[in-house]
């Protein structure tokens, strides 16, 4: 399938001159960058737009995109009040890359969901207006249209709802209220015309959310070597990765939560599980009672939850802040595994730099805490098996990002070769047990 369109001369110039210059400066997980990167490490918005054009194929947006089950597209993905139209996608795209939607004009959606950084920011936590740091890792917008809820705690039920929130968050895009955000763009005659064309109305905040959602529904990245392997091409992925796939379905127990099937091809069950990442730092019981108190005072409004989630330590309680359900304490959403190689660092707080770290965490049975999901247990995987599964993870990257994928593989492997801070072989091999140290005191 041809993705690159070389028709546009500007695009050609950028692709052949600017990009190689920038190529050396693709952001690594440590966030370092040389060359012309904008505020908060993002590539210039104009350049990003051009790159994106190069990545996405031309197709009729009113039809299901290639690679997505048409039935699921029509019945599950598209909401009744926002059917896809080219003018809506165009408006959404313009908004996605528009830094005026932030209070100081430095942050757009594409700042933390950067086309060149896996549609995330490849940082542990995101940086917003005033260089304010949040508490959570930014999920990718790639294939986000297939998520059943958005945010790591699932507090937004749709793409439309999600798009409207970061704009108003004081540490992300920091507009004080919807009117301020609109004021920044509503006087622009282009926007007036685009909103009218797309929704037949003057610019308003609800339609702003809808348009961005419509655009995000075109970010389809489901063409990985893994897909060709599933379709029958046994050479599409390495033998090691194929072994990883067997382990994924078997000893690794991954499929229980990271579900892949034709109707839901992205590797998540859309549910929330406490796998113990937050438990490394927090005292859950104390935080939970704190949270109930705080929510009672501020009222349970969606924005209050949003603010709490990102600003305070309570963020570590995850889904609990949304449902106030005791079973959800410390639970975060199962992330999609598509393009996972590009979206490090990993976990809700970006605490794991490599996929080897992730495997070490699961292999030892997560971190014991009173709310640990019952499905998390020591797996007794050996090093070869871990390598095979990591190899599989890298085979899940869309073919269009092959070069970045390979570079990141080399970087991660080098880093994993020097340090594996989460590895605990005794625990993984079931010589000592989770909860044993908590209960019996020091046993090693």
């Amino acid at each position: 399938m041809q993705y690159r369109r070389m028709g546009n001369p500007t695009a050609f110039l950028i692709l052949t001159v600017v990009l190689p210059l920038l190529g050396a400066c693709d952001a690594v997980f440590q966030g370092g960058s040389d060359g012309p990167r904008g505020a908060h490490g993002a590539l210039d918005m104009g350049a990003q737009t051009v790159l994106l054009d190069g990545l996405l194929p031309e197709y009729d947006v009113t039809q299901p995109p290639p690679g997505v089950d048409p039935h699921i597209w029509r019945q599950v993905v598209i909401p009744a009040d926002n059917p896809m139209k080219p003018e809506r996608v165009a408006l959404g795209k313009k908004l996605y890359f528009d830094t005026r939607l932030s209070k100081d004009g430095t942050v757009a959606c594409a700042t933390c969901h950067d086309v060149t950084r896996g549609f995330t920011d490849q940082r542990p936590v995101s940086e917003g207006v005033g260089d304010a740091l949040g508490k959570r890792n930014a999920p990718t917008t790639m294939n986000a249209f297939l998520m059943q809820s958005l945010f790591l705690d699932g507090r937004a039920p749709s793409l439309e709802a999600q798009a409207k929130l970061p704009i108003l968050n004081p540490i992300e895009m920091a507009h004080p209220h919807e009117q301020a955000a609109l004021a920044a763009i509503a006087e622009d005659p282009t926007y007036k015309q685009m909103f009218s064309f797309a929704y037949g109305r003057l610019p308003n905040y609800a339609d702003l959310g809808r348009a961005i959602a419509a655009f995000e529904r075109t970010l389809v990245f489901l063409d990985a070597p893994f897909d060709r392997f599933l379709a029958g091409d046994t050479e599409a992925i390495s033998e090691e990765a194929a072994r990883g796939w067997v382990l994924f379905n078997g000893k690794g127990r991954c499929m229980s939560c990271h579900q892949f099937n034709p109707s839901n091809p992205i590797g998540t069950d859309h549910r929330f599980h406490n796998i113990g990442v937050a438990a490394r730092k927090q005292n859950f019981e104390a935080l939970a009672s704190q949270a109930l108190e705080a929510l009672g005072q501020q009222g349970g409004g969606v924005q209050a939850v949003d603010r709490l989630a990102l600003q305070t330590d309570l963020s570590e309680l995850g889904r609990f802040l949304v449902t106030k359900d005791r079973a959800d304490i410390g639970a975060f959403k199962t992330m999609q595994l598509r393009n996972i190689a590009l979206t490090g660092p990993y976990m809700h707080d970006g605490s794991m730099k490599t996929l080897w770290d992730v495997m070490d965490h699961y292999n030892k049975g997560g971190e014991p805490n009173p709310f640990l999901d019952g499905g998390i247990e020591p797996l007794a995987l050996n090093e070869e098996e871990i390598d095979a599964m990591v190899e599989l993870m890298f085979a899940l990257t869309d073919a269009r990002f092959d070069e970045q994928n390979q570079r990141l593989f080399r970087e991660q492997r080098t880093l994993a070769g020097t340090e594996r801070p989460f590895r605990d072989t005794a625990m993984a091999q079931r010589e000592i047990y989770p909860f044993e140290e908590r209960v019996m005191g020091r046993v090693r």
Binding site: P370, L372, D373, G374, R430, F435, E436, V439, M440
Partner: protein, 375 residues
Amino acid sequence: MKRATIKSVETRYYEERDALMRGLKNLDRRSFLKLSAAAAAAALAQGVAFNFHSFQPVRVARAASGATADFTFAYISDSHLYKRDLNDRFVRQLLRAVDDINHLTPQPDFVLYGGDLAQLGQPLELELGAQILKNLKAPVRMMVGEHDWFLDMGEKWRGLFGESTYSFDHKGVHFVVLHSVMEDDFWTERGMTPTQRMQTVAGLDNGIQSRFKVGAEQRSWLENDLRPYSNDAPIIVFSHSPLYKYYRPWNFWTDDAEDVQAILARFSRVAVVHGHTHQLLTNRIGNIHFHGMLSTAWPWPYAPEGLPALTVQMNRADPFDPNDALGDGSVRVNPDGLVDKLYNLWNRNPVQVASAYLTSAGKTATPPTPNLKSY
């Protein structure tokens, strides 16, 4: 996580009396006698008979007035441990339960271990269990299950934990711990080895074993043990088998249940807390409240028939989560001597079955209905 405590007029009255009774401990003999006379008078007013011959009046009077402290005990049950390097899951899950109880604030008064600590009654299994339970901060009361007993007929168990049948008093409540998994000899005629006997009993659906019973000897012990207590005394019975008849093929059953219930029938406040069934179970027969305990090892489906009408099922277990439908829990003993049972289900919201639900025969304080029933 709120627990509803229904305080009737009588309860508040009893609480005042309770405060009075607590004061008794600090009195000199003269004041003590004065107060005890007052208590006796009050008890008489309740229409309870008792004798003056020893300190019994105080005890009986206390029991008669129903003045018990408001306290909680926790439970862990049915861990079915294999030896350590054979099955890690069961060990890990028992450790998790101990961790849960150790993190309760405030700490419970004691922890009941509900039986089936070992899976095949092996010494290594029982020792492993004992070792783990030692790490509970609160004191532990042990109860025996069939998996602990039938390899060596309780030899190792007695060595580790003492007699399997005993009773004790705690804050005005009389606790009885029964060995309710006695079985008629089925093994001698078949020439079974101890291991074969244990394997037979270990199979829930193994039809060769006999039905559980308490037995005549223990029943007579029970009668004697309960004799000093007035009908008003709060009694809590710990039993591994349910002490009623639920489903015979799985030994969710006590053969002489009616006889045991007859002994308990005279008491106005009796609760039976039992193990063995690995599920949320609620029943009431006469004045006797029956509550099941959760297992830490594996859940069981509800039996095809015989489920007590009062039981509001827990959601069926999700096989993809090894800890689902498992957990530990606690029992709160109210000042009125009735109990509220709390099921601390892992990865789910806790479920409380309050005494009001049972006393109202299911009309009030209904536990949450499941949205995924067994079928």
